[in-house]
């Protein structure tokens, strides 16, 4: 297996943004959810990714997020798999390879977002 690159992760984030923003029902569900999410790839220490959820829309930047509501930490291949919809966050969360730091409601909501998208 080849090592995931920053570009692989960025492409996965672009893909995820597209899926979130084209899902009208999900945008409606998240219309009150304004959150900053920091994405940390354990094996790509130079990579910075800041997801911004605003009124149901997602944007992301290659930038450090200093005061995130949620911090998502995992090996790059786990993050890429989740953002590409190739795996759910549940198993890596339960086996400890994915850690989510934030309020319980925000963490649960992020899970809902990914499941609503990839259940399509």
């Amino acid at each position: 297996m080849t090592q995931a690159t920053p570009d692989d992760l960025y492409a996965a984030l672009d893909h995820f943004r597209g899926k979130v923003n084209e899902n009208q029902r999900l945008r409606q569900m998240n219309r009150d959810w304004n959150r900053d999410i920091s994405v940390v790839a354990k094996d790509l220490p130079d990579v910075q990714a800041w997801i911004r959820m605003r009124a149901g829309e997602m944007e992301w930047e290659r930038q450090r997020c200093d005061d995130p509501h949620i911090v998502l930490t995992a090996p790059a291949d786990v993050l890429i798999g989740i953002f590409q919809g190739e795996r759910t966050p549940t198993e890596p969360y339960l086996d400890g390879s994915l850690t989510l730091r934030g309020s319980q409601e925000d963490v649960l909501r992020l899970d809902f977002v990914s499941l609503m998208i990839w259940g399509e």
């Binding site: 569900m29 959810w33 319980q104 963490v107 809902f112 609503m116």
Partner: protein
Amino acid sequence: MKGVLGVSLGSSQRDHTVEVSMLGEEIELSRRGTDGDLDRAEQLIREHDGKVDAIGLGGIDVYFFARGERYVVRDGLRLMQAAQVTPAVDGSGIKDTLERDAVQYLLHHTDLLKPTTRVLMVSAVDRFGMAEAFVEIGCPIVFGDLIFSAGMPYPITTLDELADIARRILPEMAKMPFTMLYPTGKEQEKEGSSERFHEYYDGADVIAGDWHFIRKYLPQRVDGKWILTNTTTAKDIQELRQRGASHVVTTTPEMAGRSFGTNVIEAMIVALSGQRPEELGHQGYADWLSRLHLQPRIENLQGGSAS
């Protein structure tokens, strides 16, 4: 005397033990809360396995249902499997029948429920039979599963959409720690004083479903509304009275001054029958419910007398 133990992930402040006589049989019903501690609940079950006639699992579901699909809750299954000798049940064997019957009873024997009654069901995947019963009557309804479990301001208004969202979410969510999905232990004691989601309460005549979800965002005033729920304590009733609720209806009857969860009632039926749950089956449970003549408990909170 038969013995039934209810082990709950809920607050230990709601613990109680009563002795009741049912169809000529004396039964001790005991409820023990573990304040959200799953390991302690498992230990309690192991300690009592083989020593009581049936065990009820409360404050947790083993199964969620939506449109014929059954979703297994991992933590609930873990507790159920901790009992190797004594049958352990979560109430789902009788909930569907009991709660459908409760809605029909309210429609035909009270003035509380009409086809125009607006219903907020705080969660429906844990009581799909009740949800279907309201829909069959024609009541305008909001299913608050996403609102009350995940804080998402998204009212679901049809059973089709509820089943669709359940199909996407529940297979994975059911694997998560149950404490993430549902208030357990001390979370249950928190004052429901948040200002969130009051529009859904305001737009309903009846608030139905799990009591801890109902209480989660319960407004300070719910004047004239009535509540259809599972288990309540004297403190809960007092709180609803003070907030102006007109009636509280519990789907399980009062026994020795307490309403017990469906898990305890199902365990009681298992104990009375001497059969295992899989031997009883849907029809067996329905027959026992009919023999026991269980009717919902209706308490008029503002008039003082029960009807």
